[in-house]
Each structure stands twice: as structure tokens, then as C-alpha cells.
Subunit: 186 residues, 4 copies
């Protein structure tokens, strides 16, 4: 069992990206990880924009990131890159906040033309934060995410995206499990 934080960075409420985060959290819990989800948008705006790590809610998330073995970082694509909302949180983290951690980038967007935003925009930032392993991620088309009928905080992932998405999520789960058994033997 590993500790995982799912961070989603959409400026919208409700948000398909946030709902996807909850959906992936549920899947990872079924893999027996301890998973917490954080919507950056729920943190105090003034603290985020001024980079205030002393704000209690911000400090709580920074500590949760510090303690997590793994992170899912989910963002919508805006202007060919990750969202500014997500970046305000990443900006206030200590320089090597992701040192030793396994990270799964997940990006949502309206057009396949933005697929490379994962590897050219988000991944370099996660690398700069010292992540041990930024796993292969996945780009999910907005139209492959359908609001769940009975749970406003869940989504159904259409089959075109579900296969490859669950594959990278399960590979992330396996990587965390492997890492935790390796660290146990040292």
C-alpha cells in the first residue's frame, strides 16, 4: 500500500478534470492504496497567488505532497499548456518537492492537437521539481468524459480513452508497489 495524492488543477467548478481525478482515485483505492484528492481550486486564492506556504490549507497540501509516495497530477490544457491554477501550487512547493516520488501526469483537452502538452509542458516542470520517476501519462479528450448520472463528482470514461488511460494508471500503481517493496528490502 502506498500513499497517493491526486492533485487536479482546473479553474472550473464542477470540472471534468477534477471528476476524472476522483475517478482515478477510486480506481487506485481498489488497488489498495491510500488516496487523497486535492482540487487546487479549493485552496485560498490569495494564498496561492502570493505563494503563501504559511496558509494552513496550503501548508496542509504541501505536507501531504511531502508525505505521499506517488502523485497524480491532472490538468486541463489551456493555451497549449497546463493550467495556471495548477502551476500556482507547483510554484510554491520547495525546489525538490517531488524528490523520490513517482508521478503520473494526466491531461484533459478538447482537441487531440494538444496531446504533446503533457510531454513538452507538464513533464519538464515535474522533472524540475526533482521527481524520481515521471511515468508515461495520458491525454483524455473532454468528449470521452461523460458526467456520471448518479454522482456529480464522478465521470464515465468512454471506451476509446478508458483502455489506455487505465493502463497507465495501473502501471503507476505497479511502479508504486514495486518501489515500496524495494525500499522495504533496503
Amino acid at each position: 500500500m502506498s500513499t497517493i495524492l491526486v492533485v487536479s488543477g482546473s479553474p472550473s467548478v464542477p470540472s471534468r478534470t477534477a471528476a476524472l481525478g476522483e475517478h482515478l482515485a477510486a480506481r487506485l483505492r481498489r488497488h489498495e492504496h491510500a488516496v487523497r484528492t486535492v482540487r487546487v481550486r479549493d485552496l485560498p486564492p490569495a494564498a496561492l497567488l502570493s505563494g503563501d506556504r504559511d496558509d494552513p490549507a496550503v501548508a496542509d497540501v504541501v505536507t501531504a505532497i511531502e508525505r505521499a509516495d506517488g502523485l497524480v497530477v491532472a490538468s486541463p490544457v489551456y493555451k497549449a499548456a497546463y493550467s495556471g491554477v495548477l502551476k500556482t501550487l507547483l510554484d510554491l512547493l520547495p525546489q525538490y518537492a517531488l524528490d523520490g516520488k513517482v508521478v503520473l501526469p494526466v491531461v484533459t483537452g478538447g482537441t487531440p492537437a494538444h496531446v504533446l502538452a503533457i510531454d513538452y509542458a507538464l513533464r519538464p516542470v515535474l522533472s524540475a521539481l526533482g521527481a524520481h520517476h515521471v511515468m508515461p501519462g495520458w491525454f483524455v479528450l473532454d468528449r470521452h468524459l461523460e458526467p456520471s448520472a448518479d454522482d456529480p463528482f464522478d465521470v464515465t470514461v468512454r471506451s476509446e480513452s478508458a483502455g489506455p488511460l487505465y493502463e497507465v494508471v495501473d502501471a503507476f500503481s505497479t511502479a508504486l508497489r514495486d518501489r515500496s517493496s524495494l525500499l522495504a528490502t533496503r
Copy 2:
């Protein structure tokens, strides 16, 4: 005479990046342009993080960008990219908000190791916003910016950076002038 908006995106107050923005605005005014400076950090945090274009202060800046002939976009480097603060403003702009505009990217940072953040991180976002011409920009080392003794909102740029920085700023001014005389003859 062209209309120029200088947008700076540092989360800090006071900020070397914002002071540099004022400094460049003063230079551009001496070239007889109409220049306004905007610190993203001064806009209402909740409006920025929720992408609320109806907020009056945000709407005012969006309109100012729409009306400007040229933009100076100034950001500190955080985590090998532009700041999240800056990106929250860019995110809420209409898709082709920079269509037809001349844009000068200026980035400040603590180490020369981050120079390429201009061309690999900021420039693609400005291109995605439809900018007509993203000019060659400049990266200024923090330690080349010295607080001005008599004006807390100004900086002195040390000579190592001043030469190439003023060169790109003056080229930006010339490009605006050229564009305005061309448009006048059509």
C-alpha cells in the same frame, strides 16, 4: 505612437520582475509609446483562479490587452517555466487574444540554467494565443537587477544585462512603429 501593455506575473510584492516591467515601461514611454503596466498579482485572486472575465478589474485588463498594439510579458522563472500567476491571466483570455499583436517576452531568474524557459515554455503559449510576432526576448539574471535607491518601483539594470535587454526592447519599439506605419498605408 503605439499602445503597449506591460504585464508582469510575479507572485512577490515587491517584485524585481514588476520593477523591471516599470523600468521597461519608462523606456518605451521615452520612445513615445502610450504604456500601461499591469501586475497580475494586483488583480482579484478569486477571479483569476476561477477564470472570471466578468470581474471588473479582470475585464478591464482583458480589454486593455485587446486594445494594445504590443505587449511586454514579464515573468520570473519558477520550476523551469513561467509563473502560475501569469498563466492564470493568460488562461482566461479569449483563444486568439494576441492576434495581430507584437509581443516581447522577458524572463527573470536566479540562474542562467533557466534561459531556455523563454523559448521552450513562454513562447509556445504566446504563439498559441495567436500572437502575430513574438519578438526575440531576453532573460535577465536576478542579480543584475538592483533596487533603485530613490524609487521602490524602479530597478537599475547592471551593464552585463542592460545592453542586450535594451536592444530587444528597442527592437520591439521599432517593430511596433513599423507595424503602425504599415497599417496606416493600407
Copy 3:
């Protein structure tokens, strides 16, 4: 009238990218520019891979780039970036070989998922070469390029791509014309 070099960097012969280069050259000639096309693949392989600027064929192209007012740089997408073939030529150019020039990037690829390769991979390299103005470029899907029935070196561009592609090409032509009239008055 401006002098334009169209450089195409596909490793294949025949190549859709090279045929597209010829097609755009023909259009630019109709705009009364002096246009030459170069397929990097036709240059001596050993000279390219060793960066030998003294090779007569290579030296001829380097001089042609030096003398050109504008460049069209066309590449297929391979592995989410421009081709290595194209890059071998760019690598042996002098550091600021594109100083003062107007450049139009055009990229071809099999899937829209690679659209951002223009702005995140090719454009930063063209900026590093000192280009005065890297214009908004265009990504053309391979399947929108149909071999011409009567000319093996030409292609027909399907209407879905033709509109926006010709728009950026014509904007490039206009930018060159504007620049040449501006330089004439100085």
C-alpha cells in the same frame, strides 16, 4: 520581391513534405518572389553528419540561407519533433544564421496529436538561430496531401488544410514584402 529558400527535411524520397515544399514555392513565385527549394536529403550525407561546411554543396546552401530574406522550413514529424535530417543542416549553420530573416515553419504528420511539435520543438530551434520573425506556422496532416496525377514533385492540398495553410503562406509573403519596403526606406 524577396528571396526565399524553401528547405525540406524529409528522409524519404519521394516525400510528401518535399512535394509540399515545391507546392508552396510555386505559390510564393506567383506572389513574385524569387524562390529556391532545397531538399536536405539531396546534400552529401557524410558532409551533413560531420557538419562539414566546406563541402561545396553544403557551402552553397549555407550561402543561399545567408542571402535569403525569408525561409520556409518544412519537416515531417518524427518521434514528436522535427526530423534529424533537417536538424543536421540547422546544426552546421553559423550561430545566428537566421538573424534578420522571416521564417515560416511548416510541419507534416500522420496524426493531429503532433500539432504542437511546431511550437514546442521547431520554433525554439529557429529562435535559437536568431530569426527576426518566426511566423505562425501550420501543421498539415499527411492524408490531406495527395500526390498530383501529372507531376510527381507536386501535391494537391485537400481543402481542410488548404485554407489555413495558404493563409499562413500568404501572411509570410506579406511580411516579407512589408519588411523589404521598410528596409528600402531606411
Copy 4:
């Protein structure tokens, strides 16, 4: 013991990057891995530039990559990115040639201003090739590489670079060892 291929992509002979590749290969051999080095520059130029996988020397390297558990990919920085020489080899590999492999990117350059070429230029290409794990890499300043007095194919790495460089190389070795023991237990 893992099988490692060190691929270096400098157009120069002799080359500091290639010598660094040999130097790292020697270190990895002392960690008891089976290491082979390949200089892309030694492959037949015409085959590389035409993407000819049937050429025997090229086919041999493609097979060696296929069989390797880990790859060190070493490139000088040219024009703010990896070399074209290196990319010609990467271009002709099958689409997911790095699937399941651990990869260490190492880049050499004349100025710290090019450090981000690893994360913004090389890493996205290695990700596009399906690499399981692109490890944190390192950028080595040319002037920290001194030709070895007694072996033209070796270099001495100056202490400023040696510490962090050997750290990422040893982490790469550990990651390979971990992966091989994990795969053995499945």
C-alpha cells in the same frame, strides 16, 4: 547485471561527448553491467539520412537497442536542442523502441544557458519512443571535460560536474538492478 547501450550523437571526431560516453560506460562496467558504446557518427551516413534500417550496421544497432535493458543517450547541445546526428538514429527506430527500458539522458554544452535542452527537447523525444523510465539526467559543461592524457577516448570530469553526474549515473545503475530483480520475481 543489465545490458546497457551508450549512444553518443556528436558530429565531431574526436568528440568530448563520445569520450564522456566511454567514460560513463567504464563506470557502469565497474557496476557489473554489460555495456556497449555506439557513436552514431560511425554508422553509414547515407543509411542514417535515408532511415535505412536494412543497412547491416544500422540493423545491428537497432537490434542492440531492442535487446538492451538500459540506454544512456548522450548528445551535445546544438541550436538549443539535441544534435541532428543523434536524431537521425532515433528517427529510424520503431515507434515504441524504448518500451520497457530505463533511459539516462546526458547532454554536454558550452554554456549553462542550455541546461533545459535536456528536459524540454531530449526528454519529450525519449518519452515519445515509449521509454518506461527516463531518469533525471545531467548537463555537463564542455569545460568540465578534460581530455585524458593517456587515453584519447577517455575524459576526466572536473569535480564541479563529477559529483552530480556520477550520482545520476549510479541512480541509473540502481534503477536497472532494481528492475531486473523485480522482473526476475514475476
